[in-house]
Structures are given as C-alpha cells and as structure tokens.
Amino acid sequence: MTGKEYRTITDVKGPLVFLNKTEPVAFGEIVELRLSDGTLKNGQVLDTSDDQVIVQVFEGTASIDKQTGIKFLGDVFKLPVSKDMIGRILDGAGRPRDGGPPIVADEMADIIGAAINPYSRQSPSSFIQTGISAIDACTSLVRGQKLPIFSASGLPHNDIALQIARQAKLVDSDDDFVVVFCAMGITAEEYNFFVHDLERTGALENACLFVNLADDPAVERLITPRLALTAAEYLAFEHDYHVLVIYTDMTNYCESLRQIGAAREEVPGRRGYPGYMYTDLAMLYERAGLVKGKKGSITQFPILTMPGDDITHPIPDLSGYITEGQIVISRELHQKGIYPPINVLPSLSRLMNAGIGDGKTREDHKSVSDQLYAAYAQGRELRGLVAIVGEDALNERDLQLLKFADIFENQFLRQSRDEDRDIGKGTLDYAWELLSNIDTKYLVRLDQKWIDKYHPNDKKN
C-alpha cells in the first residue's frame, strides 16, 4: 500500500502538520513522513478534506520542513497481534524494544477498538484476591473491573500496582493472569523498577510491555494505551486469557491530549484540557470487562498521579466518572510510614457487592467491611476533636474508636510488600481480631449472627 509521496506541507504547528493538494485521504489514516536526512516519522490523519489534511506526528515535529515527504499508507493504525506477544517488551508504537524479532502477526487489529455492545456484556462478579487487606476487605476488586489508583507524586503507587500484579488471584479457580503493562511518559528509573520486579518474580514471562518513557515522543503516548488494550483484547477474547492491564501514568497521557488540543486551537474545556477528554478516556477505560460467550476478561488498573494532590483536578475527576471506583493513596499515611498507604475512606469499589459474600469470599464480608469503615471513619473524626478538646472529654465509646483508628492503620493497613494475605484468615479473621478491641455493643454494623460465629470472644464480652 505505498502511495505517492507528497511534499505539500503548508504549516507545522506543535505536533501537527498541515498539507494540501492530496488525493483523498482517509480519516484516521496512517502516515509516514520522510525527513530530508532520511529519518522516518509516523503520524495519523486528524482531519481530511479535498483542500487540506491535518496530520498528528507521533514523534513530534522537530526537524520537519516543507521538503519533508509524506506518504499515506492507505489504512488506519493496526497492530500485529499474536500470542507471542506474551513475554515481550515493545515500544510505545508497538515495535520490539527488547532486541527480539518483530511480532509475526496472527492478525492485524484496529487499535481504536470497537465498543462492546452493552447487551453482550456480562456483569463482573468474581472476586480477585490481591492479598492486600485494605483492598480485599474494603474495596474488593472483581474480574473485569476498571479500578484506578489515584495517587500523587512521591507515593508508592508503583509498589502497590506491582504487588497486585504479583499476588492477584481468583479464589475459585487456578486461572492465572497475564499482565499487559503500559508505560506512558514514566521515567527510566520507574520503568527499570517495574521491569526488575517483573523479572525477579518471573512475571515478565507472563507479561507484555508497551513502553513509552519520559524522553520518548509525547504524542506517541496517545496510541500506546490503545496498543496495549488491543493486545489485551486479543489475548482475552481470542485466547481466553484473564488479562490485568496496568497503565501508568494516565496523567502523562492527558497532558499529551491537551497538547494536541492546543495545537489545533480547540476551545479548551476545564483547565485547558480538551472538552472531549471524558469520551477519550472512556474509549480506554470501557475496554475493560467480560463478554458473554468468551472465557477471557480484561481488568484494568490505571495509575494516575493527581496534580497538586487534588482529586477534583480534571484527570482524576473525569477518570472517577468513568471507572468503577478508585483506590486513593494518602500522603498522610505514607508520611506516617504506613505501607500500603491506602485511605479506604474516599476509596470505593462499585462492583464489590457483586463479588463478595457467601460462596464468593465469606458470608460476613459485607458486615465486617461496613464495620471497619464506620469505626475507622469515626475514629479519624475523633482525632480532630481530640486536638481541640483533649481526650478527657471523650466517653468510653469514643475512646475505643479513637484507639481503633490507630490499630486499623498500624496493623490492618500496614503489611509488607511481599505479604500476601488470604481473604479468610489473613484479612477477615484479622479484622475480627482487631475489632474485638471495641466493645461489642458499639459494633452496630455487625449482624448478631456473625458476632456469634466469628467474634474471637475476648475478655471484654
């Protein structure tokens, strides 16, 4: 499909190239640009008419001049996919980065990804045990969910993501996860951290990496997650794999989106981000799920750092409007030296109810989770009060709750990076043990029948 080469560039602006007098070019068509020194760049058509074509250049427009040759490749962006992608490291445009051979395509897949017919979806309901108590007890993850980590710079979100990738398992089957990892604009150091960890644990053999680093072209980041998700869909829906997609950092992705919007002189939405950012993000996040009649699944763990630790910033805000909950990492807990510093209070898993309970985790799970949440929330609130009026003003109940907040943080939340807690013994039983520090009469969220069955009857009763 090698067409004619054009040298009709009229304008270059930011990552965009404008040219005219072409044969009819398709919307979304892939473009090859040849610079005068022979360097090749790639791009994609963003706008096309008889008079003018606008091309977004993935590698940036540095060194492009009016002599640059442009060839339209006749097709939209497609990724060669095959099972052999597992165990490989590819760059942000899908080319080998590990020195290995190119992927021999089993199929060429359109990277935009068609929407799953809502009628064809299957509701996610299988509990995934991450071995992290805070998540398993309070914001349970289910297979097919999209659950982002809302973090901020300097916090250990990568450790948490890796720990989840290592430990994630289904309690009711031995099916393993394949990890598709997508790096967008992260530093080489962060990347090495991921790769070393995956290597160390042997997980790399079961993973496929798409890597765009901080010094790689920013515009390329707009396709990297699409490639990763295309690979994930192929593995999940053609080969029955359960795929865990981790992408980091969505914030860098959104910055690239903003850059394109600015170059096109679009009317910006909130804080300069394009008005269509919600839809654009949805085109990624909604590629999670299960479909009827297919065994595989896609579970997504997007990581994003909240600029200025602000959860109302458009990036976390629009993400939260699309994803099925969020896990919020807290700087305060981190500064107290607690790992994982997950603040369960603003965290939420919207699919939790479907994935827990009798036959899935344990009959008392919901009750325990509600009680932990309530007790910790009240304990934390009391900390504020104590700061003003002092502990003397507290009654017995409040004193117990206040103490419980510390116990919860120091014992329940805190665990080591390789501690893999079982949902029954490691998490729920442990929760009961810790809750027994509070008089039963104050544990109003616990059903009596579960108290009778699971409470470790300490002296206080």
């Binding site: 009819p24 990804g113 009317v267 008005g275 919600y278 839809t279 910033h313 939260g320």
Partner: protein
Amino acid sequence: MSEEKGVIYRISGPVVTAIGISPRMYEVVRVGNEGLMGEVIELHGDQSVIQVYEETSGVRPGEPVIRTGQTLSVQLGPGLLTKIYDGIQRPLPELEKTMGVFITRGVDADGLDLEKNWNFNPVVKVGDNVASGDVIGTVQETTTIEHRVMIPPGISGVVKEIKSGDFNVTQTICVLDGGDEIKMMQKWPVRTPRPFTKKHAPEVPLQTGQRILDFLFPLAKGGTAGIPGPFGSGKTVTQQQLAKWSDADIVVYIGCGERGNEMTEVLDEFPHLIDPKTGEALMNRTTMIANTSNMPVAAREASVYTGITIAEYFRDMGYDVALMADSTSRWAEAMREISSRLEEMPGEEGYPAYLSSRLAEFYERAGRVETLSGGDGSVSVIGAVSPPGGDISEPVSQGTLRIVKVFWGLDAGLARQRHFPAINWLNSYSLYPPSLDQWYRDNIKSDFPEIRTQISSLLQVEAELQEIVQLVGSDALPVDQQLTLEVARMIREFFLQQNAFHDVDTYSDLKLQYTMAKAILSFQEESKKALAGGSALEDVVNVPARTDLMRGRFESGYEDRIEEMLDDMSKQIADTMETD
C-alpha cells in the same frame, strides 16, 4: 430531487461535510461507501454539515453521501417495551446478531420487530369518527401493559374498515374514508415534541418508595427533577431506584454516555425484580436506551431525544411515564464536541451558546397533559447531572437548575460517610408540595404536610445547633437541645438513610413513611415528658425498644409491627421516670 447524491468534502471525527446535495435540516443521510448513518445539522452555502452516528475512521473525501428524505425518527408501536436500544433506536440484541459482541458499523436495524404478529383488538367500528390521538384498538404488549394503538397526529376521518386479529406492525388494521391506512406502527421525528391538547398542573406525586424523596422533596407526576452530584455520590443508584420502584406505568431509562456495565446490570436485574403494584417483572414496563461513553458521541446526542419521544408516545396513550437520563452532562458534552467541530462561537466553558435552550426544550417535554383524545397522561423527567469536580456552578448544572422544579443535591461528604442516599437535606428542594398537599391529605393522612414540616424544621434546627456543638461540645447544651440533636440523628439514621441494596429497606410506601416519621415525633414527645419527669437523657435515648424500632425497618413485615414497637418504646421511656 436531482441532487439526491453528493460527495464527502471533509471529515473531522464525527462531523462530515458534504457537497452536491441540498438536504433539509435534520434530514438523515447515508455517508460513505459503508452507508453510515448521519444527520444534517447545519447548512452552510453549498455545504451540508452532517453528524455521523458511527465511527468515521477510514472514510475518505469523495465517497458518496445519499439523502433519505427522512428526518431522524423513531418507530413507535407494540414491541418497544422490554427492549434495549442504542441512541438511534437500533435494538442492541439485533446488532449483536449481525456484528457480534463488538459494535462495528454500517448496519441498519429496525426499532420494532416488523415480522412479529400482535393480536389487535379494535375498539372502534365502521362509521365511527376518529381523530388524531384516538385509540382505535389495543394490543396486550406485555403481561402488564396494554398498548393502545392510536390515530397518528394530523390524521382524522370516518372509519371505513377496521380489522381484528393477528397482524404485524406494518399491516393495515384500519382504513379511513379519506383513504388513510392506519398501521400499528407510526414514525415520529425525535426532535419534535408530540402534540397534546393542554398541559395540566401536576397534582399527584410520583411515588418512589425512597423516603427522603417522597417525604421531603417529592416529584410530581409530569414534573422535572435534577440530580447533580460528583462521581460516586449515587446518581445512578438513585436513578435505578426510581426506575425500579416509582409508581409510573412506563419507565424509559436512558444510559447516556455512561458505563456499559451499568446497563448490563439493569438488563440482568430487571427481569427478576417484581413490581410491587402489579406483581409482574419490572422489565415488562421498561424501555432502555444505552449509548455508553465509548459509543459514538453523535448518537449520544440523539439518545435523549429518542428516549423522550418514546416516553411521549406512551403518555399519549394515557399512561404515566417516568424517564431517567443518566447523565445529561454527557449529552451536553456531546453537544459541545459537535459544536466545536462546527467551529461555532463557544459560550461558557466551551459549551455552545444554545446549551441552556436545549436543556429547557428537553425538560419542557415533560408534563402532565390532556392528550389529543382527551385522556390524562404524563411524562416525568429525572436528569442526572455530573458537574466537573462536583461544583455545580458550571453551565450544565446551572442550566438545569433554572428549569427543573426539584433539586436532589448529592453530597460528596455524605457519600463519604456512607450516608445513602447522599442527598443533602439542607440544600435540596422541591417546588411541588403546595400542589401535592391536598393529595397527601386525601390519600395518606390529613396531617401529612404538617408532619413533613416538623421533620424538616427539626433538621434545620439541628444544623444550627451543630454549629454551636462544633465550638463547645454537645455537653454544654441544655438537655432539651441535646434531645433535639438525638431526634435529628434519628431522622437521619432511621428515616433518611435507606439502603438501596437491602431487600426490605430498598422500598417504603408512603403510609409506612408517614408512620416512621410519626414514630420519630412521638419519641420526641415521650422523651420530653420523661425528661420533665426527671429522667436522664442517657436512659431515655438508650431504651432497648428504640433500637428495636430502628433496626426493625430491615425486617419484612415491619409495617405490621411498628405500632406495637412504638407502644413498647413509650412504655420503656415512661419507665425511666420511675427508676429515678
């Protein structure tokens, strides 16, 4: 028409410009070699600007554009209920049959099943005079809903021929003297409101079984409500609760630019949920429109019109219809995206200048009306709003609040405390109570409005007292004010909080709501007496019967036992005086 076929000049995402045709505004056209469906949204010199309802990548300038002569319309007739459609009324199960699980493009599908036979029972006879909107016969569409086949707007005459028996929706079932052939299916352009005779003032509440909504901030049948709230605050759960439990005859649920899994959930759940009124599956009265966030934005823009047109059609049969749109913000964003591709002059935050008039036009299609045939029908509209950062000073929230009569304000703080529904009782409002109060007096209890006033003023007083408590602690308050705080806490925890996922708590009828509210007030009365008689507050609030009363709402048969529990509570509270 000589200019039936033109060519594409430009493609920019969902917006395509064609030359060589001169279509009408809002005419449907077929775009490109694959015949993608589009709608003309602007005429500009010799250019026609088209929004395309399907993905446009791979489409080139020079490909054909073909006029259809039709404006964007829906097919109306038996077979709408229990269905799930995309934004342009393509049945999703049909799309699955032709495309598989992923929605590709270039496939057309009828909104109604044109082959299926329905048993038509005429209610008019030869020689009868019929006019627009008159019912000429019925079809039992689902076990609960009788579909009333009407003379389409603009047609009237004397019945020359009327049939009875099994027909599909395209067969003629009635012929008028002027030659009009009436079929069970009619088409209606979605952007045009269906006609009616006149609007009535709403006087009947839409009962939802949700205590905070029905009791404090009621919506009337034919009314409008907006639910703004940040992510995760409960917009979807509230809308789904309304779809499940409100006492409308017909429910139209529009998933507009939201999650795929949420629609799947409704599809999975509704066939198993039983309508408390009819004892039949809720699905039998429901039509769903699902244009999720990753489906084409132009079809998202159209989806609310598709939904409201279907709602009006059932209204015209004399039904009470409730329509939920989750989320109208995504609809507004679709407008914004299309508008920016058209390079229109942007208004506030990039939204088109006509945003507020579009919102107003949409909500104006709600109402309780006298139908063309003289009947009484209503469309109630409940729109979720998703303000960026939860801040309702933005244009979509503001544009909505200017129009709707009920504001259910969801609050991130309450959601974080797991106080659900997280509706803020201090800033939410309903303008309907004055027109509904007579109904409550006649149908529930003569003092219903007064009880409501007492409950809401207790909540107001609590808010004022809380400000003092923040400064000095609650112990510093006089004991009667401490009691007020306890009573208000009871209102919040026992009455306002309602767990949507609990089998029993999920629904309370108005009588039970009234009884519960009265129970709280009688707790207040009895406690006041006891305190005056020397009881300690601590003892009064901790009587076991009060805990039983509050926990009891989670058990079935509660409405039968509540009076007994109340008696126990009164006795125990009175007893606290003697022990002192």
